[in-house]
């Protein structure tokens, strides 16, 4: 079904999708960590993590987390009583914040590799 998107519904759908991805990441994260009992296994994984491809993956993950956090923040603020008049403004500010923080964060991430 086709239905016109607007700021609110876009914010919602991205919030949802990022949420699902993060939950699955969480499951995988716990699963992987629970299998790291000795230093050798741990260091092996850490070495793999240095792979540039996985760094890109980490950056994407970082973006997803930021997006989810700011979408959640917007909803929570609305629920705490910030006027719904500002819902669109908040979404725009959130998007800008996500972009800015991602660029700053990416700088640090990449510094680890280079």
């Amino acid at each position: 079904m086709r239905y016109r998107w607007n700021v609110g519904s876009l914010a919602w759908i991205t919030h949802r999708i990022t949420g699902i991805i993060l939950t699955f990441y969480l499951i995988a994260h716990i699963f992987v960590l629970s299998h790291l009992k000795d230093p050798t296994a741990y260091n092996k994984i850490m070495a793999i993590m240095k792979n540039p491809l996985l760094k890109v993956g980490e950056l994407i993950l970082f973006a997803i987390i930021l997006k989810h956090v700011f979408a959640g923040l917007r909803i929570t603020l609305l629920e705490l009583g910030i006027s719904t008049k500002y819902q669109k403004t908040m979404a725009y500010i959130g998007a800008i914040a996500v972009a800015l923080l991602w660029i700053i964060g990416a700088f640090y991430f990449l510094r680890e590799v280079i």
Binding site: L33, L36, M46, E79, Y108
Partner: protein
């Protein structure tokens, strides 16, 4: 209602937790996640408590969301009930493994 409220509260906890995590792990120097450093940190009881809280919050927050998705998108009552029970057990199992890593 309580779970809804808890979802919001855990959201806030995760926000601060994540901030701490990122600053600690990525922004402050390079060797923060060598095996020794991690183990050393884990020996600290307050770090343990923080980690467990963080873990439980994340699990609750994530699975509350999944539970909502099941409510909204899954058709058919038996399937719905099965998935709901599954998403109740899974985070408990994960919590068990998670706590095990942190404590031992």
């Amino acid at each position: 209602m309580f779970s809804w409220l808890l979802h919001r509260v855990t959201g806030i906890i995760l926000l601060f937790g994540l901030m701490y995590h990122f600053i600690q792990m990525h922004f402050l120097g390079h060797d923060n996640y060598s095996y020794e450093a991690v183990m050393q940190r884990l020996a600290d009881p307050s770090w343990k408590i923080f980690n467990i809280l963080f873990l439980l919050s994340a699990l609750f927050h994530g699975f509350y969301g999944i539970n909502g998705l099941i409510t909204e998108y899954v058709k058919g009552n038996s399937m719905k009930n099965f998935l709901k029970i599954f998403t109740l057990i899974l985070p408990l199992v994960l919590a068990f493994f998670g706590i095990k890593i942190v404590i031992f």
